[in-house]
Symmetry: C2
Subunit: 431 residues, 2 copies
């Protein structure tokens, strides 16, 4: 069979005969002329069938989303999007579609989120959804390229673990061949252990799990975490520097490589970042700012969603919030030497919400054991992790970025579920 | 503080003063001269301290694996590995190491696998382990680059699922907020659904789970799967073609980019692949071959580990085994149109074992429902997957490669656990 061409290649094949294959996106007839907009992974093109010929026999019965193979000749047409259309010569139906659960071939899908998520395979065919996930992949690819260029090794750590990083809260339990195990809330312990194991600088793109019953527009129970852990650094600020450079490079790369996707989404990721350096404010400075400017009192040692949004509004879209109290951070967070009630840690707020948590870690064995004890955690439950600190540990720091949250922020999506292929939340375990 | 240099940069910095940081790998004293071999992520270098100076005060108490920072001047030394050594000027101890659970600074670690795995963070510091995981990352990176160049989109699919791909066997159960869920055995259903959702060609690098009580050198309960699913292909052979090209490119890239690692491991991945095309034999041809050549009778519809090994011995190291019986494959495997008892599917044997399973999938809804029924599975349990086939489905095929098995095969490792950072097996849930 003739090699298949993609709709995105047709601009350079004017006058040639091609075979296309894809979904019947839009169908229209005017008298004896049939117009079929064919959609493939490259985009869409209009195919025009004039007159009645045996090769067109399948056209009258064609339905939206049938999979078809079309042969025809590429013609320049300045009125068409992309500047080409195809003069159809034959059409073969590869697979028939049943009536759709909702209309997908509209400029914007108008159905409710539940119907869209229940019928994810149909909903994802919309150019807007295609654009979200192509941009998401570019974003993750950009994170990976930056990390490798910064000397980090890509790792894959176990997601079945014996204990959580913060005790038993928010953990999904797994029956592990008769033993009780859990799904990893984060690769925190393992990425630190691999820094200590001599890899020094590591990154991971992998799933993480939170057994939280929240059902908000920005929580999921399973999501993709972009993690760094970097040895031989002495301040969290070095990781903030690295993250800021990474975000600017990734946003610029998206602007450059995903022009079609960003235009569909009307998003401008690079424009979301402040022109000058992302401001770095301590949590206590942020609390004062919110109180002075908005009369808002924040929860002690924390920022609520409204506080995150208002902070971004006053800082040009993004802010690093530093110096979180020991009580607000996990046992592995390193306190400042001269202010032991505060940690050398940060959150990054972007597009009105927290997208990153990071900081310097405790690297001294005795101090770490004591930090677990202070939180009422039994060091024996964390022995496999604590042991790693006994055999020569470089100072280190790192961060975790929620990939869906970062995608949501950079693309301006309303709900984090739009950035997950098959979201898992309190109510949703399928598809 | 002076910027840190890596040991791997020193060849171009002869005569300069540098600051190094890393682990004290080997220690030796001859009279008033102390030799410290310092190890960092770039490799090792010998630092020589002559005489007695206050800046050397920490040296007498130094132990193997202490983390140190060293300043000194780089000197050319043709006798040294790498052609340089460092004339030490000062040394600071950053972190002390307790006595080690086993000697790691030997040319080869002689301790048993259990001790090595119990103390993974120490064991991974050995240059051989460092080489394995740097090669593993290069291999996964090569797979990813090839997949992207072939037009595939990188996806991340949920690992918490409502049902297995083959019913209830070998599934880890998860308590999902009070509902029963499972860990995904493979991204099979979801990668197919994303092909059907219009992404057409997708790949994934992610964890998969098998609740099997095996405890062999080539089974793990959690491993990394490299997955492809490709739409608009009509024969599994197209995926075999693609895999063969990928393997040759990845092996050549390893030979080129990981010269140091491969030399430590004495591995030559490219030499493992047959010079001419990888032979493609049907399962029944392989059975005959094993019986004729070795008098070996294979289990019906299957190959045992010895059969896999012997097959590789007779085919120059690798073989695609095709045409598996319907009864040996899952419900989604597509039977041949003219031989409905056999499927258009394949395994790839490499280095004596199966590293890939792949094939064409059933893309017709009614045929797929029937295939589940024939296996005694209730189609209603798979509704979220089957539904995807109702709205226009291109023909498609794909494969899954075990990353640890491929690493093991290409690097010639004796045990799959050597290719996993923190292996999960019947007995091992920590570290």
């Amino acid at each position: 069979m003739e090699q298949r061409a993609l709709t995105s290649e047709l601009g350079s094949r004017i006058g040639e005969r091609v075979r296309l294959a894809g979904w019947a996106w839009r169908l229209r007839r005017i008298g004896a002329i049939a117009f079929i907009v064919l959609r493939d992974r490259g985009g869409t093109v209009q195919v025009v069938f004039e007159g009645r010929r045996p090769e067109y026999a399948a056209i009258p019965s064609l339905c939206a989303e049938d999979v078809v193979s079309v042969s025809g000749t590429v013609r320049a047409d300045p009125r068409a999007p992309g500047g080409v259309e195809v003069s159809g010569e034959s059409l073969e139906v590869i697979s028939r579609a049943s009536p759709l659960p909702f209309e997908v071939n509209l400029p914007e899908v108008k159905s409710g989120l539940d119907l869209v998520l229940d019928n994810r395979v149909v909903a994802l065919r919309h150019p807007r959804a295609q654009a979200v996930f192509r941009a998401r992949a570019a974003l993750i690819g950009g994170f990976r390229r930056f990390s490798e260029a910064a000397g980090m090794l890509e790792i894959q750590t176990p997601k079945i673990v014996a204990t959580g990083t913060e005790g038993g809260a928010s953990l999904f339990a797994v029956d592990y061949l008769g033993r009780r195990a859990y799904l990893a809330q984060s690769p925190q312990f393992y990425k630190q252990m691999l820094v200590i194991a001599g890899f020094e600088r590591v990154f991971e793109v992998g799933p993480v799990y939170r057994a939280e019953p929240h059902n908000t527009s920005r929580h999921l129970n399973e999501f993709t975490s972009l993690d760094w852990e970097v040895g031989f650094v002495r301040r969290a600020a070095e990781v903030m520097d690295l993250e800021e450079r990474m975000l600017r490079e990734v946003a610029a790369e998206l602007d450059r490589r995903c022009t079609g996707e960003l235009s569909v989404l009307q998003a401008r990721p690079a424009a979301l970042l402040p022109r000058s350096e992302i401001p770095r404010l301590t949590l206590s400075e942020v609390h004062s700012l919110l109180e002075t400017r908005f009369g808002k009192v924040s929860p002690p040692g924390d920022l609520d969603p409204e506080g995150e949004r208002l902070t971004c509004e006053t800082t040009g879209g993004a802010a690093f919030v530093t110096d979180w109290p020991v009580a607000s951070r996990p046992a592995y967070a390193a306190p400042w030497e001269d202010r032991p009630e505060l940690t050398d840690s940060f959150d990054l707020l972007l597009g009105g919400m927290e997208v990153t948590t990071g900081g310097r870690r405790i690297s001294d064995y005795d101090q770490l054991v004591e930090s677990f004890r202070l939180r009422g955690l039994d060091p024996d439950d964390f022995g496999f992790y604590l042991d790693a600190f006994r055999y020569g540990t470089p100072p280190h720091a790192g961060l975790a970025i929620g990939a869906e949250r970062l995608t949501m922020a950079l693309l301006g999506l309303a709900n984090m579920r739009e950035a997950a292929y098959f979201p898992r939340d309190r109510d949703r375990l399928t598809p």
